[in-house]
């Protein structure tokens, strides 16, 4: 790793504008700056339709979205033009809000193939199995889970745990959790949160995208950002999330409506 890369944030989003691939094209993310450094946990909050999932998908490289302007940098490298798999091999992991079912492909197949793609070599069977068992145990998941087809017939909670299982196995340097807390009962939420907390380390950056603050009761973020209408309008510490918990988004929406200047840059490092 070059000196420059070592100093760089893990994720550096600069002036990003993103549209849904048309027709019709519609700009959803309208200028976002966001930096996540190693060891930091950021929460990105916002009302429905504010562009949170679009931002997450665009950072991950989804072909369903077009980057109109701006850049996405991973470890200081501009990856804006790279495909999703190239970004993933550089350490990015997206936990999907709505994970796709892949009939016929077992969790084990997926995990082995993903590890091979990231490491360049097939993990040894023994090493893989040990790691899988340990991660399953952490997430209180039965071993039979690993033999099921990916997300096929999974309950909402199982899908989210399957995402965290992959997160735990793949050990990314940047994890984006897109509404991983939605649709979970308290027990499942706690399990998922424990999985995320187990992952926290000085080497990894985490971006938690959530509509509610529920998960933030279990995973304490270092920074909280509020996305409204495709722009980050507030940034702060965990007290911002507490305030939203108490008051909802209305005060913020009113403040913007009254002409308050949105906080454009939210590098989180200050």
């Amino acid at each position: 790793m070059s000196e420059r890369a070592a100093e760089s944030p893990i994720l550096d989003v600069r002036g990003l504008k993103v549209s849904i691939a048309g027709p019709p094209e519609l700009q959803i993310v309208r200028g976002v700056d966001l930096a996540v450094r190693a060891g930091e946990v950021h929460a990105l909050m916002g009302p429905n339709g504010s562009g949170k999932s679009t931002l997450a998908s665009a950072i991950a490289g989804s072909p369903a979205y077009l980057v109109d302007e701006g850049q996405v940098l991973l470890h200081g490298e501009d990856v804006t033009a790279l495909a999703a798999d190239e970004r993933a091999r550089r350490g990015l992991f997206l936990s999907f809000q709505y994970p796709t079912a892949i009939p016929g492909v077992t969790m084990v197949n997926l995990l082995r193939a993903s590890l091979k793609a990231r490491r360049g070599t097939e993990p040894s069977a023994r090493e893989f199995l040990a790691e899988l068992r340990e991660t399953l145990a952490t997430l209180k998941m039965d071993e039979s889970f690993a033999r099921r087809y990916v997300n096929d017939g999974f309950s909402g909670g199982e899908k989210k745990r399957a995402e965290i299982l992959q997160l735990g196995m793949l050990k990314p340097t940047l994890a984006i959790l897109d509404e991983t807390d939605s649709g979970l009962d308290v027990d499942a939420l706690r399990t998922v949160a424990e999985g995320v907390n187990a992952l926290r380390s000085p080497e990894i950056g985490i971006l938690i995208i959530t509509h509610y603050e529920r998960i933030l009761n279990y995973v304490t973020p270092d920074f909280v950002h509020v996305l409204v209408d495709g722009r980050i309008v507030r940034s702060g510490d965990v007290s911002l999330a507490k305030r939203i918990e108490a008051e909802g988004y209305d005060p913020i929406l009113r403040a913007i409506g009254e002409g308050a200047t949105p906080v454009a840059a939210a590098t989180g490092g200050e």
Partner: protein, 421 residues
């Protein structure tokens, strides 16, 4: 014999200058010292060949496979390499038909051609006249073969330019309460090869026969198979076909489900690239009460390959309480790939328990592809996984140990170089 040939000497079949003429069939059969009744069958085949025209696209099962420019008679039968490996209980037989003629001539005589008549069509007639890779599996009453019977059939290596034919003839006679699994490993080289093939499966009461057609043909092999099974009371036939190689693979798979409570299962997977052409025709003919059947055929198509499915589920008036499922799914991996799917139901009784059919032709699920790519898999690797997964539910239900893994490895190897644009 000589006496009965004379009056026919002037007929077209007898004087034909190609290998499927009457005289050529007789000469070949005599050269192999076949018994008189079998020589007669060969003659019947040659006559049927002379009397039958090539099928045209006007016939529904041939709509998308135009063979009007194919001349079977230009393809000279060449003996294949044929091996049969089996661990058999006392009384059972698995081997060549030629070797069986002395000891079990009566079994062959009474069943060969009993399900597929030489007059049915030109490919079948050619096979009847000149089949040269005959395999008999005979399971006497109560005989259960535990390990799969493996038949390896390799087409002849013929010099470039020559047109050879390989004519497999498979006969399975499973008597009451017998059981076996038969695996046909079909292989050929790069030379052009025509394979008019016939398989007959006779299942007695409560017999269970599983048959796997493992099609690992070379790139210039053209296969035309007619397979028909007849099921007595409580019998089960389970036919699986894996079409990977070959230029043309056309398989007609039919089940006459006669006995009460009998069950027929046809499963198939096809993986195409370049200009490969797959054509599956199925018939599940429910004749007996409470009979059940299932057809599931899946094709994944790269390059300019093509798959055709035309299948009929027929439930006759006599088949009260029948249940049938029929499904064909096609995954298009490139813009030039193409599939046609036409499942048909013909229900002639009002007392059907359940009768379903489904067809689908479409590209890869983009969400699934993005999901896999987001895990670090490049597009080709992700597609390999998706295609292997597409086949997996079918492969897993083929009752042969190790088949899903074997198929997944084949899929990965073939898609490594396939045209996915």
């Amino acid at each position: 014999m000589a006496g009965r040939e004379a009056p026919e000497a002037s007929s077209a079949a007898a004087v034909a200058a190609h290998p499927y003429g009457e005289r050529q069939a007789v000469d070949a059969a005599r050269g192999d010292a076949e018994p008189g009744w079998l020589v007669d069958r060969r003659v019947e085949g040659a006559r049927a060949f002379a009397a039958t025209a090539m099928p045209t696209p006007a016939l529904r099962p041939w709509r998308y496979t135009d063979v009007s420019s194919l001349a079977i008679e230009d393809h000279v039968p060449h003996p294949p390499a044929l091996t049969v490996r089996a661990e058999l209980p006392e009384g059972a037989y698995a081997g060549t038909i030629a070797d069986a003629l002395a000891s079990r001539g009566e079994v062959v005589r009474s069943h060969l051609g009993s399900l597929v008549a030489s007059t049915e069509g030109r490919f079948v007639a050619a096979n009847a006249a000149r089949w040269n890779a005959g395999v008999l599996v005979h399971l006497p009453r109560g005989s259960a073969v535990e390990r799969p019977i493996v038949v390896e059939l390799s087409g002849p290596e013929v010099a470039e330019g020559a047109s050879a034919a390989l004519l497999p003839r498979i006969l399975v006679v499973a008597e009451e309460r017998s059981e076996a699994t038969v695996v046909l490993r079909l292989r050929s080289g790069d030379a052009p090869l025509l394979v008019p093939s016939v398989a007959e499966v006779v299942c007695g009461d409560h017999a269970v026969v599983r048959l796997l057609l493992d099609g690992g043909w070379g790139a210039r092999t053209r296969e035309f198979t007619t397979l028909r099974a007849r099921l007595a009371r409580g019998a089960t036939v389970d036919v699986a076909t894996v079409a990977i190689g070959g230029r043309i693979v056309k398989q007609t798979l039919e089940s006459l489900i006669e006995g009460e409570g009998a069950h027929s299962d046809f499963r198939g997977v096809a993986l195409g690239d370049h200009d490969q052409h797959f054509d599956f025709v199925t018939l599940q003919d429910h004749l007996g009460p409470r009979t059940t059947s299932n057809v599931e055929i899946k094709a994944a198509l790269a390059g300019a390959s093509r798959s055709i499915y035309y299948g009929v589920t027929r439930v006759e008036e006599t088949a009260a309480g029948a249940a049938a499922e029929q499904e064909n799914r096609n995954l298009l991996l490139s813009r030039r790939a193409k599939a046609d799917s036409d499942p048909v139901l013909e229900i002639l009784t009002s007392e059907v328990i359940r009768c379903g059919h489904g067809a689908a032709v479409g590209p890869v699920d983009r969400d699934a592809l993005f999901y896999l790519q987001s895990r670090g898999l490049d597009e080709r690797t992700a597609l390999k996984l998706l295609v292997a997964g597409f086949f997996e539910p079918v492969a897993r239900r083929i009752p042969l140990e190790g088949l899903p893994e074997e198929l997944a490895a084949t899929v990965h190897a073939k898609l490594e170089a396939a045209d996915l644009s």
